[in-house]
Every structure is written in structure tokens, then in C-alpha cells.
Amino acid sequence: MVARVIESVYREERSRILATLIRWSRSIDDAEEVLHDAFAAASVKWPGEGIPAKPGAWILETARNRLIDRRRVEVRRRELLAQHHPTALVVDRSEPEVLADDILRLFFTCCHPVMSPEAQIALTLRTVGGLATPEIARAFLVPEATMAQRIVRAKAKILDAGVPYRLPCAEDLTERVERVLKVIYLIFNEGYSQMRQDLSFEAIRLGRLLNEWLPGEAEVEGALALMILTHARRDARMDDAGRLVMLDEQDRGRWHSDEIAEGVGLVERALRRKSLGPYQLQAAIAAVHCEGTDWVQVARLYEELLRFDSGPVVRLNHAVAMGYSCSWEVGLRLVDAIEDLGEYQPWHAARAQMLLRAGKAAEARVAFETAIELSRNSAEREYLIRVQATTNPA
């Protein structure tokens, strides 16, 4: 029982408690340590003394007392050394105990533009998400020591470079929210492309948290809807033999209809706010796919999306949609007009499929060859090999 409560407090309230402790202590490391101490104390005391009425508040209170104790010891030590740095040591109690938006401060600080995108991702997963460093290292396929160093450096930059722990001003808000969404969506994408559902799920959890504390932002709703709708198809992406199944061949019975309903509801609410953005458009596209793919509508939405992002990836998707809705010749012309995608596997895969559908088997075979070589995961590679086999002259 006690273990279950502790686990649920950790899961539900950890990041918010940590965010408050960081505001008080001005140090992520100190906050993490006293929070760890408080959870350890709970597992010792609660079995005998009973579970407190508000377990989360108990954890926060205990952690704060530890923080004050530590600071007292530190002040005493410095006094003995005849040094005076009082401001750096005081627990800041001038502010209210708990600010509802502490979690947002933590988001904005972890995703501050003065840090590299890699550092932003690592720090967000570590502090807001509560993932252990080895987990994050595995997720991003880097050695544990590298990831540990990345996190240490990011924390040091926050402290030493003077990254503020506050909400962005109104004029910066849109841009800063965009940064946070980008970090969350990169985490999601990493999970999706590596077929790591735990990572995708974590990104959705972060998205929900952001949407809860920053309500009414159309792009936040859009990004959350996009992730939910994509994730809802997870069980249909592979068949029982572990082979990749393309969207139009997926068994819709395996899609999570409750999640699709939630995602569609979110994107509809976002679109009603009349503040269109790229995440909402991508979510709208995902919603159309979930409702039985009207390619004319998908092509139109991609055209709209090109106004926000005319990069090669969006152009590629637009070309595919035009292939379906117009003709494969039109699609191929658009695909071939995209430059700078030489090593980008999806470009070769999409082009190969289009050549095949346009009846150019020989050219398709060559394109499949390159796509197979550039594949990042085995399910994808096996799928392409299967399709390529159909191009062989009888």
C-alpha cells in the first residue's frame, strides 16, 4: 500500500514538487537531492506512522526542511571559513509557498534557447520527465557517460550563465512555447522512429502536462493531438510477424479508437481558436488519416502547411499526397524537384513507391535499393525488401 502511494506521488506530483524546490533553492542539483531524501524518508516513516492526508504536501514539506538544514550547514561552514555569500545560500521564502505555474518555469528553463537542442531534450527528460540518465542515454543511442556529461553541463550552464527561472514575457511567449513544443515533439519522434513506445508515451505525458498548465494555446493542443493521433496507431504499425505495415494497409481494428476520439476532439478545439499553426495542420492531417484518408483534403492541408514550413520534408509529404490525389506523374515531378534530400531515407522510399505505382518497375528497383541501404530499423528494411521483390521481372 505504502509503496503504491509513494509510486503514485512520484508519478503524478514529482515534477511539480521538484519545480517548486528549484525555485526555492535556485539549484536543480540541490532540489533533486532533497527530493530524493524526502521520498526515502517517506518509505521509512509512512509504514509506521501511516500515510499522511496529503502525501505530496508532506514530500514537499520534508524536502524543504532538508533544504533549509543543508543551507544552514553550508552557511555555518562558510562562516568558519570567514566567507560571506549570504544571498546564494538563503532559501528564498519571500515568494508564495507553491506557485501553480512552477512546472511551466521548469519547462521554459529546460528548453531555454541559450542551450543546445540536445541539452534541452536531455534536461527536459531528466527533470520534468524524471527519467534516469541511463534511460535517456539508451533512448538517444549515446553512451551513458556522454549523456551524463551533457546533463551536468546543461545544469552548470543554467546556474553559471544565469538562465532565469521565470516565465517568458508576453512578447516572447509564442516563440518560447514553440521551443518547448519542439523539444517534446523531438522526443516523440525519436520514440516513433525507433519504435520505442515508452519514449513516445513520455512525450505525450509531457505534452499533457504542458497543456494542463498552459491551457488555451492552439499550438500546444495541436502538438498534443498530433502525438496522440500518431500514437493511437501504434499496434497496427507491425503485423504479428513483426513486419511493418503501411498506413493504407493497416488493420483499423487495432487502432485505439478512444485515443483517436480524444485527438480529433483536441484538434477541432484548437482549430476553433483561429490561430493556425504547423502542429494543428499536422494533427488535422493525422485526423483525416484516422477517418479514412481523403487524399484531396490531405494534399490541401499540406499545401497550407507549406506556408509555415517549406522545408524538404513537408514538400516530400505534399508530393506523396499529390501522387495519391492527382496522379503519380505529378507526384514524381514534385519529388524530383526537391533538393538536399540525398541521404534522407524517406525520400528514396517514397520515390521508389511512386515509381512502382507509375509503372516504372526498373527505376523503382534502383530507388528501393538505396532506400533499403539507408533504413534505420529492421522492420522498415524488411518491408522495403518485400515490396522491392514485386518489381522483379516475371
Binding site: G162, V163, P164
Partner: protein, 120 residues
């Protein structure tokens, strides 16, 4: 917090722009520096002579080796610096942006570094 703002400037256009334009840039710097003083953020700073007048010193086999020119031969060269005292990195980068905007006929890149606090 104290920050050093290092100004890396593209020096090539100096060869082709008029004395008036160079003087105007200098004037913009003077008025910017006055503003920074008024705002109470200025701790110090200097403009540097062009990088072709630099001398680079290192030890080679325990002996001093002086060479003509800057340490790094890049397109942008260190041309000056400010030391400012502001609340946080956001204020420091905002000042850096203002400096970038002083340059109209060449471009400047600003490196912002927190000054280390040395505890005795």
C-alpha cells in the same frame, strides 16, 4: 551577474566603405555606450585596433615564440568587448543584440560569457 560581451566583426568591408560610414559606426558605438552607462549596466569595455596589428605569443620548447597576426585566422575577428552587470543571461543577450544592430555595412557576431565568480 557580470558578463563579457565579445564583439567579433567582419573587417573586410573596411577596405571599401567611406570614412564617413566608418565614422558613423563609431558614433553609434559612442551613443550606445552612453546609453549603457545611463542604464547602470556598463562596467567597462574597449575597442581594439584591427587584428593585423595583433601579436600572438606562445611557448615553444620553453622559449617565447611571438608571431605576427591573430591567434585564429577567421573571417570575423575580435574587435572589442564590453563587461556588463545585468540580472541574467536574457538581459545580457538583449544587449548583445543591440550591439549587432549597430553594424549596418558589415556584420558582428557577439559571444556572451559569464564572468567567473572566484571564491577566496
Amino acid at each position: 551577474m557580470k558578463y563579457m560581451l565579445m564583439i567579433y566583426e567582419d573587417q573586410a568591408p573596411y577596405a571599401s566603405v567611406s570614412q564617413e560610414e566608418q565614422g558613423a559606426l563609431f558614433q553609434r558605438y559612442i551613443s550606445f555606450t552612453n546609453d549603457l552607462h545611463t542604464e547602470g549596466k556598463m562596467l567597462g569595455g574597449d575597442a581594439l585596433e584591427p587584428s593585423f596589428k595583433a601579436t600572438t605569443v606562445r611557448l615553444k620548447d620553453g622559449k617565447r615564440l611571438s608571431t605576427d597576426g591573430p591567434y585564429a585566422e577567421s573571417k570575423e575577428q575580435l574587435a572589442g568587448y564590453y563587461i556588463v552587470d545585468v540580472k541574467d543571461i536574457e538581459e545580457a543577450t538583449a544587449i548583445a543584440e543591440r550591439i549587432c544592430r549597430l553594424h549596418t555595412w558589415n556584420h558582428a557576431i557577439l559571444e556572451v560569457r559569464p564572468v567567473m565568480v572566484i571564491e577566496a
